[in-house]
Amino acid sequence: MGRTIKLASILGLAILFFAGVAFTQNYGGSNGAGRHRRGDRSPANGPYPVAAGVVDPGVQTDNRNAGGTLIDPANDPNGFTSFFSDGLARFQEVESVSGGANNGLGPRFNLNQCSGCHAQPAIGGSSAASNPQFQAISDGMVSGTTNSIPSFIAADGPTREVRFPFFFNSNGSPNLNSPNGGVEDVFTVSGRPDAGSCNVSQPNFAAAQAANNIIFRIPTPTFGAGLIENLDDSTLLKNQAANLQNNFGVAGTFNHNGNDGTISRFGWKAQNKSLQIFAGEAYNVEMGISNMLFPQERPLPGEEQGVGLPPNCMNLSGKGYPEDTSNPNASPNAAVLDDVSAFANFMRFLAPPQPGAVVLNGQAVSSTSISNGSALFRSIGCATCHNPSPGTTQASNFVPALSNVPVLAYSDLEIHHMGSGLADNVSQGGAGGDQFRTAPLWGLGQRVYFLHDGRTSNLVTAIQAHASHGSEATGVEQNFFALTPRQQQDLLNFLRSL
């Protein structure tokens, strides 16, 4: 009898044990009992339509000083003019794995030249109309034996960086409880004559596409970045406080640097604190070149969680780490800097593009239309986030041209909830999967691709994408929809004047 009771007790415990496991697996017990998170949204409806005949004037080709420097050589007491030129030259250098003039590329990378991605409308900008990644095999940048061009890389599409929002289970399904979000470089150096025996594969992009577990980013333009870098936090906070009480439903917050807690401001989610960090991370992540800020070779996120890179893919340049260092014996002065510092200086001293005239269907747009568009932009609430001037720079210890300058960036540099339609489910710093930095609009008139993933080259589509479930911009979108066709066209004309 006693034995029967014992047996029954053990079996009962076993049933409870397995029932518990099953319950936890089915209902996500890892979220913790007693927590009720709200705000899950169903997929977005169709976009707000614009009136027939309202069109994006398209990429403007007049000279707006894109790619020029803000340094006045006649007022450059610290002698940074030559540093801008040096940075510009290094920005265009073609990187090799080993044995070339500039080494350290790979083992994984997205392109072998900064200016290949930051190209439109001038060096330092965003994605060009045609994508150099598409030519990677035919140009000999990568081996066609070991690499293929993924289907989402098109000759006439945007230059792309790829991320997988979630890690995969071994059965090929995305594990929604395991966020990834790191960059999955498009190419490997394997098979290149200068890459030795390194043999690593491209990520399985086809599997990621089949699982809908893939998102894209395009290069952020860096014009005027030195002015953005030189805005004091208190200026941004004051600007935020002034805009909080609006009647459009817009709020916004800041992303912060994890080390010192100050406002970070570069990158699509404002995840990078400074241009130095921005350049160092890009050099490591996009080109595979270790440097003084990121001294280690970078595996893919999945490799990082496993055993890292194989030994035969390490130290391919043969010079040790970091692959980019300063050059104490070089001359002139600018050449002493490491590449990352040179890149940062180049971006820091890039002037913001100047507004210009707009051509629509071959006809010059009237200045009245543009000024109306500007007023409409403010009136319907666009300027609540895309603030024409979030403030004036603090005094600069670099060049006078960075001191006390109104920053006409059309951005508050805050991160905003942009809703389910734009969400990429990638978290960076304090920014969640649906939060993005207000994209600065200076230079927009000469941009080809819009939004973080370059999903469109049509400004109208980009505006429509601002409305979806959970977006702070839906109220403003409703106002845009309420405008007359003439007013909507004025607003588009204005945007292409920037």
């Binding site: 009720h36 998170r37 709200r38 979000g181 990520p203 577990n213 009480q245 969400a423 304090g430 106002n479």
Partner: protein
């Protein structure tokens, strides 16, 4: 050594074996094969158009207590239990897109309404701004309207001065402004409920349409509990008091012990029961680890019972955490004070 058959031992061994197999399966199922998966066909896909990876977001300690952002629109009626609001929309009006989560400054987008198929060039935005975390100097609907009016940018022109009007038997503050260049008008109506200013912003091209929409708001029902007297305790709702946790009513306090060092503000709205214990916690904007740490601390807080007309009543207030002031796991919690 003699061997004696014990069924219980056999069952235990079987269980261990099963458990090992099961654990192995589970581990295989969740193994991070990362970015190099060679599986041809995934079993599941990432759903499109869903925000799965959230940053700081809203959450609460229980699902039964109504939240300010918890309104629903069913069969043309917008209901919000927290504010005691029932608003029958004009015919064929809908909410096409839900609003964002609450902000870290205590701002809620409760609804964004418009005519179905966008057949009328007007829309209604319903927001709430609490007084607990507001960054504006306004503390009620009248002051908020004055603040908004005084800070109208030069693109706008005041159309109707601030007045008070009765809607659905309740006093609302009203003013209107327009954008001459956009030819759009904004009618702003605000009222105070539970330490929040509830605002209805009606926007459109045709003032007559806006007037009609404003008149249609008379169909709205606001429960007696949402009356101004509610904030003084004469209601089924808790009495709401800004800064209540900063008074000597708080007799025992524990600081949260955070596991991550973050810099976001974490506004937390709490309801204190009649005995002085916290019965409900609402995180307006927090990361899960912050919710855990703050929730654990708040459950140790104790207040003196709040008396209204000699009887203890529930109290609602807000407490701000975060802002990078908090120290990580090495921080010692302050001693509880009884």
């Amino acid at each position: 050594m003699s061997f004696k058959f014990r069924p219980s031992a056999v069952v235990c061994l079987l269980l261990l074996l099963l458990s090992w197999i099961r654990t192995g399966q589970a581990q295989n199922g969740t193994e991070r094969s990362g970015d190099l998966s060679n599986a041809a066909r995934p079993v599941t896909k990432v759903p499109s158009g869903v925000i799965l990876v959230k940053g700081a977001w809203s959450a609460s300690s229980d699902s039964s207590t109504p939240l300010p952002e918890g309104g629903t629109l069913i069969n043309g009626v917008f209901e919000n239990a927290y504010f005691g609001l029932r608003y029958a929309l004009p015919k064929n009006w809908v909410e096409e897109y839900k609003g964002p989560p609450p902000s870290d400054s205590g701002r809620y987008v409760l609804a964004q309404l418009q005519a179905d198929e966008r057949s009328e060039a007007a829309h209604i935005l319903i927001t709430a701004q609490d007084t607990f975390f507001s960054q504006s100097p306004a503390s009620d609907a009248i002051e908020l309207a004055a603040y908004e009016k005084d800070n109208l940018q030069s693109d706008y022109k005041l159309q109707r001065p601030i007045t008070q009007t009765k809607i659905a038997g309740r006093l609302f503050t009203f003013f209107a402004y327009e954008s001459p260049v956009a030819q759009l008008h904004w009618y702003v109506l605000g009222t105070d409920i539970r330490c929040h200013t509830l605002e209805f912003v009606i926007t459109g091209r045709d003032p007559n349409l806006l007037e009609n929409l404003m008149l249609a708001m008379n169909r709205m029902e606001l429960s007696a509990g949402a009356s101004p007297a509610a904030s003084r305790g004469a209601s089924v709702f808790p009495v709401c008091i800004k800064g209540y946790a900063e008074t000597d009513q708080l007799i025992r306090r524990a600081d949260p012990v955070f596991t991550e060092h973050r810099f976001n503000p974490v506004p937390v709205r709490i309801i204190i029961d009649r005995e002085g214990k916290i019965k409900h916690i609402h995180f307006l904007s927090a990361f899960p680890d912050q919710e855990q740490a703050i929730g654990d601390a708040l459950r140790r807080w104790k207040f003196k019972p709040y008396l209204s007309h000699g009887h203890p009543v529930e109290v609602e207030t807000g407490v701000m955490f975060g802002h990078g002031k908090d120290i990580g796991p090495d921080h010692e919690t302050s001693p509880a004070v009884d």
